[in-house]
Amino acid sequence: MSALRQQVPNAVVWLVLLTMPYWMGAVGGYTELASRVVVLGLAAMALNFLLGFTGVLSFGHAAYFGLGAYGVGMTIKYLVPSTPLGILVGAAVGTLAAMVIGALIVKLRGVYFAMVTIAFGQVFFFIAFRWNEVTGGDDGLTGWKRQALDLGFTRVDILGSDKAFYYLVLAVFAACVAAMALLLRSPFGRTLIAIRENERRARFLGIPVEQHIWLSFVISCFFVSIAGTLYALLSNFTDPRALRWDQSGNFVIMAVLGGMRSFWGPLIGAAIFVVLQDYVSSQTENWMSVIGVFFMLVVLFFPRGVLGILRRRLAS
């Protein structure tokens, strides 16, 4: 009975995600907006692997998101016109950078960790911003397009069909989310939650905390860089803002808004963020101040996020 009840939220989430392109139009949206929700939802959930389930705040995840985005764009533009290969390269570049930077910063805690992640993120931002010949500088990386998928027996035109691309994004999202869920239920995942709950106790239970935080950071950045590749593919374009610190801040806002102690919370947060942004930015240029006010209200009155409120309602 209780096991069944636990499956209800999962079933609802997957049902909504699987049908989204078919009702998005009816509620004033469009398929590309649905893809944005899923892509940024993946990024926020990836960040939350580190933030919500290891207790470590990174303010520089846009760096790895952006490396994924540039990785896929530059692969398709300069090397091989293949979407899957581009995704692999983007994820590899982001993950490698995370392995190196992670090793340099795992000893830091709290606000120091967050500050240093911002600093490293800004390094990548300035490289993308300045290196005009290769990255396109401030104008962004243009002149490339996502390529149709060649599955051997058939070709899927993800460029011409927004719906086909949405389902590619959803398939990648599903694989990533399933992997994260499995990890969090594993002995390794439990050590991360133990570190979040009480680092000193974890240490004196024989857990090498730095090693585990490094692994969590790298795993989190791997998934965020995959989200970055999908983000670039979505608009056939990327620019330095994808790796700037305010993008990192947006991921944190999404996670906190939705509820960082719940698995699906960041996805809900991303959906609210993306839809608000889309709607409000068509009314006023100052859309961020509306999101800011909304964010403050949630944090002040519902510190466990939107999913936290829903949960309490259901429990009582």
Binding site: S186, P187, R190, T191, I193, R203, F204, L205, G206, P208
Partner: protein, 249 residues
Amino acid sequence: MSLLQVRDVSKHFGKLVAVDGVSLTVEPGELRAVIGPNGAGKTTFFNLVSGFFPPTRGSIVFDGRDITSLSEHRRVRLGMARTFQVTEIFPELTVRENLRVPVEVAAGRRLSPWLTKAADAGIRARVGELMEMGGIADKADRLVGELSHGDQRATEIMMSLALNPRLLLLDEPTAGMGDQETYNITRLIRRLHRDQKQSIVLIEHDMRVIFHLADRIMVLAEGAVLAEGTPDEIAADERVQAAYLGKAA
């Protein structure tokens, strides 16, 4: 061979000498108590032994191996587990989840991304066994943060035992407890010592607890060893009475 040999360790914090040339030898199966008035350096001494921070001087040998500069988690892997004066647990996890973490670490699974059915069953069984032993099985699915102080302490001790330690370090296990809770914890420690030959070093304030439990007692005062001996010898020692027992009475 001795299990633990602490040789002449000191710890300075700036100008303060918290521990001053303390030596201690613990034999396998022994229950050793460390007592002393507040500020005598008992907890600092424990922190040196368990690797919380390194000593300013001196060396620590565990099971024939010099561990003076070894990190805390490596000492745990060699078989040293500790509890804290202020209980260190995972308050927002259940009793079962609190115990699962060290059981999995002890099984060498801390990095496993999955478990086979058989491995999972083995871990669950061990968790159940530990909860029985600690008398907390009836609270298995309660959050530890909501339990009584005594049950939290029992959980912390069982978490340390889950690591199958060769030496268990207990920092004031009955601090802040009522009579019934003190009795329960004392009984648990006695059982571990008598039935399982568990080697234990115990810091304690409560003299009644110490004199009935310990094989030998070391008395610290102002960071240095004041006396060492059997409970009877310590009880008869005039310096100890003056420094400690006199004040407690």
